[in-house]
Symmetry: C2
Subunit: 352 residues, 2 copies
Amino acid sequence: MTNHRIALIPGDGIGAEVLPPAQQVLDVLGRRHGFTLSYTSYDDWSCERYLRAGAMMPADGIDQLRDKDAILLGAVGYPGVPDHVSLWGLLIPIRRSFRQYVNLRPIRVFEGIDSPVRGARAGDVDFVVVRENVEGEYSEVGGRLNRGFPDEMAVQEAVFTRAGVTRVLDYAFELAALRGGRLTSATKSNGIVHTMPFWDQLVAERAADFPQVAWDQEHIDALAAKFVLEPARFDVVVASNLFGDILSDLAAAVAGSIGIAPAANLNPEREFPSMFEPVHGSAPDIAGQGIANPLGAIWSAAMMLDHLGHPAAAKDITSAIASVLARTDVRTRDLGGAATTAEFTDKLLGLL
Amino acid sequence: MTNHRIALIPGDGIGAEVLPPAQQVLDVLGRRHGFTLSYTSYDDWSCERYLRAGAMMPADGIDQLRDKDAILLGAVGYPGVPDHVSLWGLLIPIRRSFRQYVNLRPIRVFEGIDSPVRGARAGDVDFVVVRENVEGEYSEVGGRLNRGFPDEMAVQEAVFTRAGVTRVLDYAFELAALRGGRLTSATKSNGIVHTMPFWDQLVAERAADFPQVAWDQEHIDALAAKFVLEPARFDVVVASNLFGDILSDLAAAVAGSIGIAPAANLNPEREFPSMFEPVHGSAPDIAGQGIANPLGAIWSAAMMLDHLGHPAAAKDITSAIASVLARTDVRTRDLGGAATTAEFTDKLLGLL
Ligand SMILES: CC(C)[C@H](C(=O)O)[C@@H](O)C(=O)O
Ligand SMILES: CC(C)[C@H](C(=O)O)[C@@H](O)C(=O)O
């Protein structure tokens, strides 16, 4: 029987409350589909650890994860710890050390979830955002000059490499081909004059190798508007690190699912572990009360199973999520109900 | 009687069809409020000129505009001319040469316009996006290395100066104070580690001088989501060049008004002419048919009058726009009707 070694990093706040439900679901599916999962927990890799010991994870943290097959992360962030400290101390080093260059964000309107956008109906809106995840606008290159003086300035280099852009485009075009669909590239080559025309050029080059994929490109400002105006028209959207970050959160909001959306940080070659994480934050306001919505973590677990080679098991999970939302009125507080995390999880397990 | 010297740059496509209606409106208001406008037209500053003569405007174009009090621009862009050529050949040099460091985008849901977002109701949504307009992520600094080789790369420098950020923040805080409202700063200091923490720091510094303004900050991904989820909660949103570009188009879409929205490119010190332009593009698909919606240009003209010191005349225009939308069913095609540009303009003139 295949065993998968999973690293669990609960992180901060509700992170520790949403991972156990995901584990329960994973174990049920392992039994059903014939695989096992063994877990290693990194319970203190968190902002609390940072406040106590000056670092989010130990110096050899990345090496401790290296032999795992996948990483399931809860949430990162804590009042009083600047976001760039917590994120560049844990989340971003993992993404980069393990070359998780694809950030995959499925966008789907579920029946039973109200979308804030009139045109976003269940069944019609079902697309993915493929975000470049390790280079681009998020770069360590840059700095500050003349600190504290009137002529102070800060510069930030965005770095786009042919190899880095091409590999994520390949992933996106392959996905579009598999889905039998269309690809939309997010650009801003009318405003960002050095990197974005380069991005466009690489998109056109890759497109030539995928004649079966219809594709177009939109400037990020117009594209953000179209997510609201015509959300049903998208299939695969590929974007740079920053644009993908913005578009994927916007799309999740359009789908009414910011609280339940998952993200996969993929190393498609499987040279290194990939990481799966709910999109929601650590929600310090409700942490410790046992009322967090576990669907983001559970949906992330589904993406993990897909990546580990169990697409049928993954499908079982997303079907159960669709059922619990469409066919029951058990809901956590964020969805307008009063169920606890445990009650909601039980209901979902019953539908699996 | 005060006279204002106005430069008219119709540009491309429907640009030439939406400026004459704006002039008609302006002239009516001049007679009523006691000022005159004299116009200089720059009819051939366009993509056609670029294709013929290799440049969007003459070499001394900027100097020709220098003694004007304001510039009213139609639209720029034409199939076959890359956007970065047309825009960096006309729009962006004007913004930069005349230090139009504030891009102001009013966002308003009008009665009679359907918003795609359920929560966006007329009366509730009424805010402004203040965008930094001359530095930040739109910079000429950067370039391409190893062109055509596997190790090719492009870099793009984002440049944020203390002076450049502070002046637009001052404008935004003053506006928030005037409106008796709140200010929201768009940031991404968790991902963009050099420039955005600097932006946040300057926001906090300026905020200290405006104790009467309540303010907060949101990461751009979460903020884009909130524009869809809670559009009524915003009042003044201040953002960098790129973030403001994205947020203002997104907000216009949320308000259902992408086709009628205006933009002001302001030099608040009035050292140089400011520029006013509808947000819509040159719409080559409908150009020449006389069916373009002139409201974007007319609303831009209202912003121009406000800037030139005629707030009451500006108010007359926005009231007439509100009336034509709420109280008549005369509509151009983009709004679901069949009226021509001329018919729609006449209706509006009748309501002035
Ligand atoms: C056309 C483009 C360069 C421009 C910008 O991004 O500034 C436009 O989107 C705008 O908002 O005026
Ligand atoms: C927290 C932040 C650095 C991160 C990002 O922007 O990458 C988050 O928004 C995400 O999308 O995973």
